[in-house]
């Protein structure tokens, strides 16, 4: 097995992180500290830059300005060993529908260089309560089953930093419950969990902290009142773009159009 050096970190620090596509900002000077044992919710309307933020955190996208530090490491210095500590479940589930549940898990266990891939897959299937369907093609799974499988696939290598992009959409109540339990387990285990969502009802009891992204700008939500109230209040006073920016030839890309 590869001697992946352990890159341990208990904090992820974003300082002045911006990301732009041509002349359109997707993220604008984001400062944020993520700590172990915390579930942080990134809330905000569609196109506010949530996915871009998760992309930057996952090391797949580079910030245009500013830097992200995982402990003391930057993403480029961390390289593959750092990626081994990050789990990323995007809205698309990153599963191969033509493979069985077991094959999917074993494939990723192999990619992550885990020892005993068969056993790991077996355990993961049990946690996803999919043991009986282990050798069925993922094609035939319901959204909830796929989501449970994808979740276990993301956690297979026990990452320190776990990123979820809209994990609750399309889930039935039972699957929602499983996901919430699993997230709470991650918190107790001292992981850093980031949830990007606009679904306030499910997460309101779960989050330790919530931040609001709007037009690429980040603001902390206060701690008074219910999540929904705080969200409303924050949305009302969140900075708005003051001038419409003409979209040039390079001005395409994600971004909320100014109201």
């Amino acid at each position: 097995m590869p001697p992946l050096q352990i890159t341990d970190f208990t904090q992820v620090t974003l300082s002045g992180v911006s990301r732009h596509y041509g002349r359109r900002r997707a993220l604008s000077r984001v400062n944020l500290v993520l700590s172990a044992g915390e579930i942080i919710g990134v809330l905000g309307p569609n196109g506010a830059g949530k996915s871009t933020l998760l992309g930057v955190l996952s090391t797949l996208a580079e910030p245009s300005n500013g830097d992200v530090r995982y402990g003391d490491l930057t993403a480029s210095a961390g390289g593959a060993p750092l990626r081994a500590q990050v789990g990323f479940l995007s809205h698309e589930l990153q599963l191969y529908p033509e493979l069985t549940a077991r094959e999917n898990l074993e494939f990723f266990a192999g990619l992550y260089g885990l020892d005993r891939p068969a056993e790991r897959a077996h355990e993961a299937l049990a946690r996803a309560s999919l043991s009986e369907r282990a050798d069925d093609l993922v094609e035939g799974f319901s959204r909830g089953m796929r989501q449970r499988l994808a979740l276990e696939r993301t956690l297979l290598h026990a990452p320190r930093l776990v990123l979820f992009d809209e994990p609750f959409t399309g889930l039935d109540e039972a699957s929602c419950g499983t996901l919430v339990t699993r997230l709470q387990q991650l918190r107790t285990a001292g992981r850093i969990v980031v949830l990007a969502t606009h679904d306030l009802d499910v997460v309101s009891q779960l989050l330790d902290r919530a931040v609001l992204l709007r037009m690429g700008r980040l603001s902390e939500l206060g701690s008074k009142g219910s999540l929904r109230e705080r969200y409303r209040a924050a949305l009302a006073e969140a900075p708005r773009g003051r001038r419409p920016v003409p979209s040039g030839p390079s001005g395409s890309g994600p971004g909320e159009s100014p109201a």
Partner: protein, 227 residues
């Protein structure tokens, strides 16, 4: 190095497994290649006989066309459920993923070429098997050259909107040397008096092309794939 090969093998095995389940790529590409050769026959057969020298051209153009089709499909599969992101997140040497996909495409094209060669030999009365080993060398080197560039290009185009159009637009001009070398080499073999010296020149040129472009693709894969 062992880890590199292990990852490559994992990716290849995954692709083979998927393909063995639904055979979609294999069957569509094979069928496309067959219809390609047929379409060409109507262009290059006059009075029941193939125009002299058309066989080598038909062979290579069919390979290029069906290769493009296969390349597009091979990566569409990775894009479909954002699986590519899963691959890129894995703590592996990313070039190993590239090599894995390349090998998968090569295996598929090998099957397609076996059929196309037989068809062209049969329909165009071309003595393709007269120097079978030379043809095999030409075909394998040419396919590696074409697919190594194509695999990189279709991987990097996954992020763009109009990837289906852009792939051939970028791929054909860059791989024209492969086509020239392949067609001329094959022609040297099937002409009435085979010119083995010339064929050897084309084979060695293809060999150098492969070395340069595979190296370049391995080198650029990582920076091109990160955003």
């Amino acid at each position: 190095m062992r880890r590199f090969l292990q990852v490559t093998w994992l990716v290849v095995r995954k692709d083979l497994r998927v393909e063995s389940r639904n055979k979609e790529m294999l069957l569509t590409t094979l069928f496309f290649a067959v219809s390609c050769v047929l379409v060409f026959s109507f262009g290059f057969v006059r009075g029941g006989e193939a125009i002299e020298g058309s066989a080598s051209g038909v062979l290579w153009i069919t390979i290029a066309f069906s290769g493009t089709l296969a390349l597009g499909r091979a990566f569409e599969r990775e894009r479909h459920h954002d699986a590519l992101r899963g691959l890129l997140m894995a703590p592996v040497d990313r070039p190993a993923i590239y090599v894995g996909k390349l090998v998968g495409v090569l295996l598929l094209l090998a099957v397609v070429e076996a059929l196309v060669v037989v068809m062209v030999a049969f329909l165009f009365q071309a003595p393709l098997f007269r120097h079978g080993w030379w043809l095999l060398t030409l075909l394998s080197l040419g396919t590696i050259g074409f697919a190594s560039v194509g695999t990189l290009f279709s991987a990097m185009l996954l992020r763009t909107r109009s990837r289906a159009v852009l792939l051939p637009v970028l791929l054909y001009p860059v791989t024209i040397p492969v086509l020239i070398m392949g067609v001329s080499g094959t022609f040297a073999l099937v002409q009435p008096e085979p010119d083995l010296v010339l064929a050897r020149v084309w084979v060695s040129l293809l060999f150098f092309f492969d070395i340069v472009f595979v190296t370049l693709a391995l080198w650029t894969f990582e920076p091109v794939m990160t955003e």
